[in-house]
């Protein structure tokens, strides 16, 4: 009963070292992608009141849509609600850098633009912010990928990136 040391088989020792190295490599890869390449996930932006966010004249989401803030740079205010996004269509020239500000006036949604890194949970009371540069012309559908009620499957829109 006096034993306090852990008996570990030599093969298992090697496996443990391999496992730890593997996990360090994975963590490092994610850290490099996040901090060196700047592929980041959203952080708190601002709070809004979902009961008034779509109607308060001071709220940008009372008039959702695209604003050009500098040449080639845009802000897109998107209002998610059951079961549509407003606006449903956005047009920008290729090479545009667009920052999306998305909020919901009712239940939770997800705002996901296909073939981009934009995929963000839309939580009433919060503003989801992510930025993307559209490098290729084409049509990019954006869809709701959080269950938001019986009409969920029809909730989508598109971004048209013109040449």
């Amino acid at each position: 009963m006096s034993t306090t040391s852990l008996h570990v088989h030599p093969y298992e020792k090697r496996w443990i070292i391999f496992s730890i190295v593997l996990l360090i490599v994975f963590t490092a890869a994610v850290a490099i992608a996040a901090f060196a390449l700047g592929i980041q996930v959203p952080s708190p932006e601002q709070r809004v009141d979902p009961r008034t966010v779509a109607v308060d004249p001071n709220s940008p989401w009372s008039n959702p849509g695209l604003r050009e803030i500098a040449p080639g740079r845009y802000e897109a205010y998107i209002l998610a609600q059951t079961w549509q996004f407003q606006p449903r269509e956005i047009r920008v020239p290729v090479g545009s850098r667009v920052t999306f500000y998305v909020t919901s006036k009712d239940v939770q949604h997800t705002f996901k633009i296909q073939d981009t890194n934009i995929n963000v949970q839309v939580v009433p009371g919060q503003v989801s912010k992510l930025t993307v540069t559209f490098k290729k012309p084409g049509t990019y559908p954006f869809i709701c990928s959080e269950y938001c009620g019986v009409g969920h499957a029809g909730m989508f829109g598109q971004i048209i990136v013109t040449p």
């Binding site: 009963m1 034993t3 306090t4 852990l6 008996h7 570990v8 088989h9 093969y11 298992e12 496996w15 443990i16 496992s19 593997l22 996990l23 994975f26 994610v30 850290a31 992608a33 996040a34 592929i39 980041q40 996930v41 959203p42 952080s43 708190p44 932006e45 709070r47 009141d49 979902p50 009961r51 059951t82 009712d106 239940v107 939770q108 997800t110 996901k112 296909q114 073939d115 890194n117 995929n119 963000v120 949970q121 939580v123 009433p124 009371g125 919060q126 503003v127 989801s128 912010k129 559908p141 869809i143 709701c144 990928s145 269950y147 009620g149 019986v150 969920h152 499957a153 029809g154 989508f156």
Partner: protein, 550 residues
């Protein structure tokens, strides 16, 4: 080593059997809806034919998720853990009435939650994200199921304490140790959802408060949501570590490392819930990264498990004449349906683990969040690694409990292989569709934005779902056949509990001491969750009224 002669009393057997019965009825009903979803994806929507019984795809999906992921698991697990505590400690429950009260609370909760779901008043899925608002009975019912399982857990603790008094200085037998630990993990983990229910959802659904904070609710939910998967998984690990080796004629490769793995799960499985909230707007990226690193660290005990379990299997296979670097696998008793089911479950679980790493990889999650990759992943883990293992366990446990011979073991073996094949087809297609951008929880046959290139994969989802359905039917046929069989077992089924290669007395004492590990686990939770919980509660914005959107 002494022979395993301990036996459960008829009353104890019946108590465990009731858990399994409720679990299997839930699985049978929940599994009915799986193929309906899969067929819908493939273009064959059968939901209109279920009117007016089942109103929508989402009511079916809620039934599928709640019955399979919450009810089947929780009831099977509390039953299996009860068996392990009694059989492992070789003593009866200290206060059997307490455990019975817990079980009945779970039943009352289950019925309460089931009624609003069946009446389409709670089609909010098993994640019930507010401000979607279900009928209050749904929230109260689910809470009672959890509270009931806690009460059963208290019964385990009293029993374990009594055993400790009777056996001072002895190492806790592994299956009992691991089962009590699983319950401790569950009781810590469910604090999150308990707070969500008691401070927000229940008073809100009863009309006592008008509004809730959906972001804070998500944080509470995922405090519970990830360790929940370890609550599902650890009972399967108990079987893989301690029972499967015996079933293949081997021994447990290392009792010490098995215990170490379980302690690490207790330590690490709670403080990492933000990896389910990587794309949430209300959680700072820095904390998400901290949880990403912690998520990778909880992969370590699973890697330990992979080594120890495979080494135990190899030891058994070589004793049976297996040779070669990999050829020994063929010397495993594949004809035993319980063994086949668990080996196939473990194999697919390995791929589930790899997909889990992708989900957990912080910014990679921007590609995968809420896509079909996620259900593709957890159908390899909870729906195969766990569920197919539990099915395998039931192939010896049900004969043990009922005293009836397993009905048609050949069918049982077919069941395991069909689950394996169906799941490969289904899950592979779901993973690929997810990478292509297909949203989860969506009737894709109905969605206007689905490109033609998804169609072949959507068809595979339907085919895989169909094969899984056949497998499920075989499972229930074997279970019902066994229960109503007239063929009794000649002598009581031997409970497969493997000896360790090294005698258990050589397991270091620090691997059998609870306080330091439990305190360390709680401390880590305070560090990883404390600051953000404080921040989110301090800035609570109760601005969301409820919506019924189905």
């Amino acid at each position: 080593m002494t022979a395993q002669t301990y036996s459960l009393s008829p009353k104890e057997k019946s108590f465990v059997s009731w858990h399994l019965l409720v679990a299997m009825v839930a699985l049978a009903l929940g599994t009915l809806f799986g193929p309906l979803q899969a067929f819908e994806h493939a273009g064959l929507n059968l939901y209109p034919f279920l009117q007016p019984l089942i109103k929508s795809y989402y009511q079916g999906l809620t039934l599928h998720g709640v019955l399979n992921a919450l009810v089947w698991t929780t009831f099977f697990i509390t039953g299996f853990l009860t068996f392990n505590v009694i059989y492992g400690l070789k003593r009866p429950l200290r206060y059997p009435t307490l455990n019975q009260v817990g079980f009945w609370l779970m039943i009352v909760g289950l019925v309460m939650a089931a009624i609003p779901i069946l009446l389409n008043k709670a089609s909010v899925l098993y994640t019930f994200y507010p401000p979607m608002k279900a009928h209050w009975a749904y929230y109260v019912g689910l809470t009672l199921v959890v509270v009931g399982s806690w009460v059963e857990g208290y019964g385990f603790y009293f029993t374990y304490a009594a055993w400790r008094k009777e056996n001072p200085g002895e190492r806790t037998p592994f299956i009992a140790f691991a089962s009590v630990l699983t319950m401790v993990l569950w009781q810590i983990a469910t604090l999150g959802v308990a707070v969500e229910m008691l401070t927000m959802l229940i008073p809100w659904s009863l009309g006592l408060i008008e509004t809730v904070d959906p972001q804070l609710a998500r944080t509470y939910f995922w405090f519970t949501g990830h360790p929940l998967v370890y609550f599902w998984l650890l009972p399967a690990y108990i079987s893989w570590y301690a029972m499967l080796p015996k079933q293949v004629g081997g021994k447990m490769f290392s009792d010490s490392l098995a215990r170490l793995a379980f302690w690490l799960f207790l330590l690490l499985s709670v403080p990492l819930g933000f990896h389910h909230q990587y794309v949430d707007p209300g959680v700072p990226a820095g904390w998400k990264f901290v949880h990403a690193v912690l998520t990778f660290s909880v992969f370590f005990p699973s890697l330990l498990t992979a080594f120890t379990v495979i080494a135990s299997l190899e030891y058994g296979a070589r004793k049976n004449g297996g040779t070669g670097l990999f050829r020994w696998v063929l010397a495993l008793p594949w004809r035993d349906p319980s063994v086949a089911a668990q080996l196939l479950a473990g194999l697919l679980f390995f791929f589930g683990g790899i997909g889990g790493l992708a989900n957990a990889a912080y910014n990679v999650n921007l590609e995968l969040h809420n896509t079909t990759f996620v259900p593709g992943h957890f159908h390899l883990t909870v729906a195969t690694g766990v569920t197919l293992t539990f099915m395998g366990v039931s192939y010896w446990l049900v004969p043990y409990l009922t005293g009836k011979k397993l009905w048609k073991p050949d069918l049982a073996r077919w069941q395991a292989w069909l689950w394996f094949i169906g799941m490969i087809i289904f899950s592979n297609a779901m993973h690929v569709l997810g990478i292509l951008g297909a949203p989860r929880r969506t009737p894709l046959g109905d969605a206007p934005y689905v490109p033609a290139e998804w169609n072949s994969r959507l068809l595979q989802v339907g085919i895989g779902g169909g094969i899984l359905f056949i497998s499920a039917i075989l499972y229930f046929a074997v279970m019902i056949g066994t229960a109503f069989s007239k063929v009794k077992v000649e002598k009581e089924v031997e409970v497969p509990v493997a000896e360790a290669l090294q005698p258990v007395s050589q397991t270091p004492a620090w691997l059998d001491r609870w306080a330091p590990w439990v305190y360390a686990a709680l401390a880590l939770i305070v560090i990883a969750y404390g600051p953000q919980l404080y921040e989110q509660i301090r800035n609570i914005s109760l601005t969301s009224p409820g919506f019924r959107v189905w």
